[in-house]
Every structure is written in C-alpha cells, then in structure tokens.
C-alpha cells in the first residue's frame, strides 16, 4: 500500500465522490456514443451469469411448482364438488344412452335393419395450400398404391373438409368447403331442413336455399345430405351462426385453415362429380 500523509488522504477521500460522479457522466456519454459497447458488455455479463442462473433454475422451478401445488390443493375441494356433480350428470346421460342403445337394438331386430358397411378410408398428408384455379384448395401427397378418384370426400379429424377434384399419379387436389366454387347439400340436424352450403372464400361458408318458413336456428348442427348422391347423409359439417347483418353462415368443425392430414373416404357414390379444373379434357373413367 502506498503511504500517504493524512491530509492528502482526506483530500482524496473528499474528492473521490465528485470524480466518480464525473466518471459516471462520462460513462453515460460513452454509452450514448457507442451503443455497441454497452451491448457487448451486457452480453459478456449475461454469458458470465448464465451458469449461475442455470444452477439456480432448478430450485426456483421446484419452489414455483410447490406453490402451484399448494394453490391446486386449495381449490381441490371446490374442484371435487364440481367433478362429483359432473359425474352425476354424466351418469344420468350414460343411463340414457344405454337405454337408447337397447331400444335401438330392439327396433333393429324388429325391422330387419341391414347395417351399412363401414366405409373404407385412406389417410393422406396435406403438402401444400392453395394453388391451382381454386382459392381454397389443398394438395395431398398420395402414395402410388392408394386408389384415389374424383368425388371422394375428405374429412379431417373433426368433420367435413372438402371433395377431391383432381387426381394425379402422386397427388390429389381437394376443393375445400370454404371455396367460392363449393356447393354442398346439407341438412339441419334438428329440423331436417335441406339447404345448400355455399363457399365464399371466407372462413365461414353461407347457408342458402333453405325451405321457406323454416329459419335455421343459431347453433344448430349441420350435416351433409344425401341429395344429389354426391355425399352420404349425416357427415358432420358445422354449426349455424347468424351474422350481425342477418346472413346465415356455418362455422365448420373442420379446421380448413390448418389442415395437415385428411382422411379420404370412398363411399362409392358417383352422383354429381366436380367439373374438371384443368382445361385439358380428360376422359372420365367408366364405372
């Protein structure tokens, strides 16, 4: 240590604060003049502290999890009561379903009802959106061994998505229900009213041409109709939504904006086939 006389040391001690404040203003100017310097210093500090935070993260997470557990325990009583009530309700529904199932089986026995065979389906991956002449269409990648033909129906995991309009050797294009060119015959499930589902290129296709005197109810389920022999009856499509402008639209169950895998069903229906999208005429396969 350097030995200094006491008055000098006192003077230095008294001077150190003003000098340091001046240095602080200098730091401010330096940080303003060279923003990169401050940034580099911050990154260096963060790099140096990263292992510390990493070591600290584990106990911190444990504490946070513990607190969350505590909160859950506090609301558990309430949750239990709710679940018990829900369980009761579901049990009632289960009883109703079981009795209906038994009744259905009995009626079928009496009517000699021939059940429909389960339709065959393939699953195909969506590889591209849009493209082609349609605004709302997706391209599927089809393995060569898969038999795909026009008019097959594409469903995603929730409901009706569209129809196959073009088939190549390794790909197929599906016209979605939201496209402007899409017309789907539908039935309102509750009132059995027939209507047409007309695409608008928007997220929700419109409902048109329903029978007079019956207004589609808000929230009513819409399913496909077998009229026109293009679709089987009863595929889930969506629910009715009235807009503020008084237009009946259908909120689709299928998430047509982000399809990644669709199921292609072959119901063996050859009613109205969609028109060729390409100008090149292609001979229709005879069936």
């Amino acid at each position: 240590m350097i030995r200094l006389s006491i008055p000098l040391r006192q003077a230095l001690a008294r001077l150190s604060l003003p000098v340091l404040i001046a240095a602080a203003f200098g730091t401010m100017l330096l940080g303003k003049a060279d923003a990169l310097l401050a940034e580099r210093a911050r990154i260096a500090l963060a790099d140096a502290l990263a292992p510390f935070y990493a070591a600290f993260a584990q106990p911190a997470r444990a504490v946070r999890d513990g607190l969350e557990d505590l909160q859950q325990i506090l609301v558990m009583r309430e949750e239990n009561a709710r679940l018990r009530e829900e369980n009761e309700r579901l049990r009632r529904w289960q009883a109703a379903a079981l009795s209906l199932e038994a009744e259905n089986a009995m009626l079928r026995r009496q009517l000699e009802f021939v059940p429909e065979r389960a339709p065959a389906f393939y699953t195909a991956r969506v590889v591209a959106d849009g493209g082609g002449v349609y605004a709302r269409a997706v391209l599927l990648s089809i393995p060569p061994e898969m038999q795909v033909r026009r008019g097959q129906i594409a469903l995603d995991e929730r409901g009706f998505a569209g129809r196959v309009t073009e088939v190549g050797s390794r790909s197929a294009r599906v016209l979605l229900a939201t496209d402007m060119n899409s017309r789907i015959p539908v039935t309102l499930e509750g009132s059995r009213v027939r209507a047409m589902l007309v695409g608008t290129n928007g997220a929700r296709p419109r409902l048109q041409h329903w029978s007079e005197g019956t207004r589609p109810a808000e929230g009513e389920r819409v399913v496909t109709s077998a009229e026109g022999v293009a679709f089987p009856a009863g595929l889930p499509v969506g629910v009715v939504r009235w807009t503020e402008g008084g237009v009946a639209e259908v909120e689709l169950f299928a998430r047509t904006e982000r399809l990644d895998v669709v199921r292609l069903f072959d119901f063996g229906l050859g009613g109205i086939l969609p028109p060729e999208a390409v100008a090149r005429p292609e001979p229709r396969p005879r069936r």
């Binding site: 150190s16 604060l17 340091l20 404040i21 240095a23 602080a24 203003f25 200098g26 730091t27 401010m28 100017l29 330096l30 940080g31 303003k32 310097l37 401050a38 210093a41 911050r42 500090l45 502290l49 510390f52 935070y53 600290f56 911190a60």
Partner: protein, 177 residues
C-alpha cells in the same frame, strides 16, 4: 512513538475483517444478480440495489465506498436495460446525500429513516427519469418510474430488518475483538 508495537493480527482475524468489510458490496451484488433472474417483476434490480446502498451508506459507510457504489451502479445498468450510466449517477448521488446526512439519520428511529428513504426512492426514480429523458431526448412514460419508486420504498423495511440484524452482529464481533 514509544512502547511496544501492537502484535500483528493473525490470519484468521484478518480474514474475518476482510469478510466483514466485503460483505455489504458482495451481498448487494448477489441480491442484484438474483433479482435479475426471471422473477416476472420489472424494476426489481434497482428496487433491491437502492435499499442496500442507502442502508450501508448510512450505517457503515466504510464498507460502501464511492468506488463500490460506482461498480454497483454499473452492474445495475448492465443487468437492466437502462441507458448505460444512469444507474451509476443516481446511485452515486443518493450515496453522497446519504453520507452527508448520516450523522443525523443514524440517531433517528426506524420510522423516520424509512420516511427519509421514501424521499430517497422518489428522488432517485425522478433523477433516473430525467437522465433517461435527456439521453433519449424524449420523455419516457412516468408510470414505470412511479412503480419503481413505490417498489423500492416498499421493499426497504424487509431489507432494513435483515441488514440491521447483520449490522448488529458485525458490531458485536468488532467490539469483542
């Protein structure tokens, strides 16, 4: 000078003294680094730094010299995203005022020191706001500065409780040796 020379202190005692002298600054650094972690509370780092700096400046100014305050301010600026230097200036000014008033403040009750500290918190936040406005050349929102001042003033009693215990332990250790 007449008489025997004082015996040179042992290694352990010297280590003890060093630890005592270094604790205020290192403890503050540790708290700041912890506060800079992902706690979800903005302005926690300045709110943790100011109580420590003011407390040690008032009650143990020898352990919180201006260079240490300068380095703490620099660390605060680097840990937060404030303009470089604003934290240094505000902390140094607060430290200078606290040291100037310490003879008066040491003798007051806890309540009065807390009130004075609230004034420190408001003044520091205001000075930081002015400096940020000067650096960016347009005034930032006043709400974060108010939030910081409130948080700092509210955190002081907790810090003062723990730090005064530590301070008492240190003083007793110094008196016995």
């Amino acid at each position: 000078m007449v008489g025997r020379k004082e015996p040179s202190p042992g290694l352990l005692r010297r280590l003890d003294d060093m630890a005592r002298a270094a604790f205020p600054a290192t403890g503050t650094v540790l708290l700041m680094v912890l506060a800079a972690g992902p706690s979800g509370v903005p302005a926690l780092v300045p709110a943790v730094t100011l109580p420590c700096v003011i407390f040690w400046s008032i009650f143990r100014p020898g352990a919180m010299p201006p260079p240490a305050v300068f380095l703490l301010g620099l660390l605060q600026d680097l840990l937060t995203l404030a303009a470089l230097g604003t934290g240094v200036v505000t902390l140094l000014v607060a430290h200078g005022v606290a040291v100037a008033w310490r003879r008066f403040l040491v003798r007051q009750s806890f309540m009065f020191v807390w009130l004075a500290f609230c004034a420190f918190a408001v003044g520091t936040a205001a000075l930081g706001w002015v400096l940020t406005a000067l650096m960016a050349w347009n005034p930032p929102g006043i709400a974060p500065a108010l939030h910081q001042a409130g948080l700092t003033a509210g955190l002081y009693p907790a810090f003062a409780f723990v730090l005064s215990r530590i301070h008492g332990v240190m003083r007793r250790a110094e008196e016995t040796t």
